[in-house]
Symmetry: C2
Subunit: 424 residues, 2 copies
């Protein structure tokens, strides 16, 4: 099944919006076993849309059209579909009634132009819109089928999931996801060379700041299981999840499993670490709060980092990270303290080069665990700040994750001590 994506909208050609819908559709269709052979963006012009529909169905079996289904005079997709199908438009009384009701409920006038949202090409099938007003449309054209969906992202996704994907009939490709943190894409790919060499197996890498999402596809389920098991072994502790779940959620689950809480102490990240740990609903069960000790004296004032340590080494030092972690844990009354200090740039700080980062996790023990890294500086100094800060957040979350897993391992081991087992 070959599909093309047709996006309608002047605003996309003018760069007012980036085509996120096409990205989502491309990924979702590909995962469902449907081949996306082209993407086209055209203006809000009826003749142009008609021609683009016809050209698309010369090359593919179906076309998914997003945009141009709204209620303004620029929304001409319905007209284009009807003309391409060689049919007329009729006003659907139920749709019209629903439009009038919504306007009345909101206390806003219903403009004449908005009634076009009740127009339907003759013979078209309505695709219900659980998330908005305008339904999608399925229209048979010479050459294939057109599915028209609103451009509003969550409405588009809802209609596509419910009414378009099931019909496109692709065979979902057997696939497995592994998400890794703190390892470079080239290193991950290097480790997985044996997996890539397996017959009928394809591996794709999706890097983001400090993380690499690995997606393994195989021609059959057995081959997939073998490839996944091999990848799991080769990547080891770098894998934080084998499903599409974010690192912060994994950390929250581990903390919740121990009835534990965390507090954070940040400098170069400015609050990004706390923001990441509060993204999820219910994060208050495991995240208490934190301090942003951006100015160096605040590390002493708020967290008790020894003044002579700061005077001797500056703020960017592993012992400072350790003292910050222990300090925030104690002062906020959390089970764990998680701290970061480092140099985001563009200038070096306290004699330390840009990209130097120390992250530390403190628990009830005497010695916080510290990890020191040298993050890469991509491009000029100003452009590097954002990535360095985001990578630092990932390194911090991953340090806490690994620490919690190590504690779990050791606790299991100590329960079975004497059996000769090693901590896993």
């Amino acid at each position: 099944m070959r599909v093309e994506l047709l996006t309608v909208g002047d605003e996309l050609l003018r760069g007012d919006t980036v085509n996120g819908n096409a990205g989502w559709l491309g990924r979702r269709l590909t995962e469902a076993g449907v081949q996306v052979v082209r993407g086209v963006v055209v203006p809000d012009e009826t003749e142009t849309i008609i021609k683009a529909l016809q050209e698309a169905l010369e090359r593919a079996d179906a076309v998914i059209v997003t945009g141009g289904l709204g209620g303004t005079v620029d929304d001409v997709t319905r007209d284009a579909l009807a003309r391409a199908a060689g049919v007329g438009l009729h006003r659907d009384p139920a749709l019209e009634a629903r439009l009038r009701d919504r306007a009345a409920t909101r206390g806003v006038p219903l403009l004449e132009s908005a009634l076009r949202m009740a127009d339907v090409p003759d013979g078209a099938r309505l695709l219900p819109n659980p998330a908005g007003t305008a339904p999608g449309l399925r229209v048979t054209l010479p050459g294939g089928v057109a599915y028209a969906v609103p451009g509003v992202p969550h409405e588009m996704r809802a209609i596509v999931e419910e009414s378009v994907l099931p019909e496109l009939g692709g065979t979902p490709v057997p696939a497995h996801v592994l998400r890794t943190a703190t390892v470079w894409e080239s290193v991950v790919a290097g480790r997985l060379a044996p997996v890539e060499a397996l017959p009928g197996v394809r591996v794709a890498y999706y890097p983001s700041a400090g993380e690499v999402r690995v997606r393994i596809e195989a021609d059959a389920e057995e081959g997939l299981a073998e490839a996944a098991e091999m990848a799991r072994k080769l990547l080891g502790g770098a894998v934080y999840a084998e499903e599409d779940v974010a690192l912060d959620r994994v950390v929250h689950r581990l903390l919740a499993g121990r009835n534990a809480t965390v507090a954070v102490a940040e400098s170069l990240t400015g609050g990004l670490l706390g923001a990441e740990l509060t993204g999820m609903p219910g994060s208050s069960a495991t995240f208490l709060g934190g301090v942003v000790v951006y100015a160096t004296p605040l590390k002493h004032l708020l967290l008790g980092v020894p003044a002579d340590l700061l005077a001797a080494h500056g703020a960017v030092h592993p012992d400072v990270a350790a003292a910050m972690a222990a300090g925030v844990r104690e002062r906020l009354g959390a089970s764990y303290g998680l701290a970061v200090t480092g140099v985001a740039g563009p200038d070096p700080q306290d004699g330390q080069p840009v990209g130097t980062v120390h992250v530390a996790v403190a628990d009830s023990g005497a010695h916080p665990r510290v990890k020191s890294v040298r993050l890469p500086v991509n491009g000029d100094g100003e452009r590097a700040r954002g990535p360095i800060r985001r990578m630092t957040v990932v390194h911090a979350l991953d340090l806490l994750r690994r620490h919690l897993l190590t504690l779990e391992s050791c606790e299991r081991w100590s329960v079975t001590a004497g059996d000769g087992e090693e901590p896993g």
Copy 2:
């Protein structure tokens, strides 16, 4: 001048990447007075690219091709360009030498396939790449001109700015930007109806969380000045800048102008406000740090918010915001304290509905200034959290901005007191 954008890359059709390059190109070309008439995304297939180039130049005067200029076997844009132009490829010795040098310097082997980056269609002009390895290419085809640029965003932008835009010969459209915060797009557009009605004037709105960027275009400079002046008056204090500068930078400038510092106290935002205020290099001159008092008891423990106030009203109350602002100011030793408290959702908190937010700014005076808002809940609860948190950051920054401007106004007024002037 009509231009089409052709993006080459399987990864874009598979949704592995979103087409940010096309968005940037669309905006940049449009601002430069060039009309973008279509955008097309094709796979890494030589025949497909050749056909797409030919079709594009039947519709437009020039086509800008991104992608497929790398050094792997999938990078076939050079071959497609040469075949579309009916010419051969030659290996450029200077380019080859540069490739070999770079590989040697980095201590990595140079693969045979990578030498394709030294191949040039006969008769093509090289477009220098100040930011990377592979040069762009300008190739004359039947029907028009093709500009091929690398897909790496900052390399693409550098080559387009330097070698493509100057040649495309558009007349930059006279335009003026006004950036507003905390006012709804529909309200901004409603206020600017008289500007939109001016002959030869077009107004475009670019909303993002809590902000609206307004871009006014006019057919001539005088018309633009008149439209801009009218818009300035109609929007008043909602405008935080008349150039493309971010709100956090405007706040830093105002603080720096007063030799002042700020500390932040956050709850629902989790650290996003501090992260926003530390994005800019040099922010340490004006931003000291903050506290994330996510758990309610921490508001008392770390900031001295009275326990009986919290017990009586919960954490989401204007007096709590005021106490947080005063508390963080005092404890961190800043000129100003900026605090936020509210309900991000998905559940109500302390009897307050989702979207209730109080922001407060404290200075040396006795009474922090508090603003209370009810932010909209878009979609289901979980999806609303992110936008509510981001909008809260904007409301907080804008409250501080307006407070600093009011202080400046009052100080100017008090200098001239007796002249009968009112604070501006």
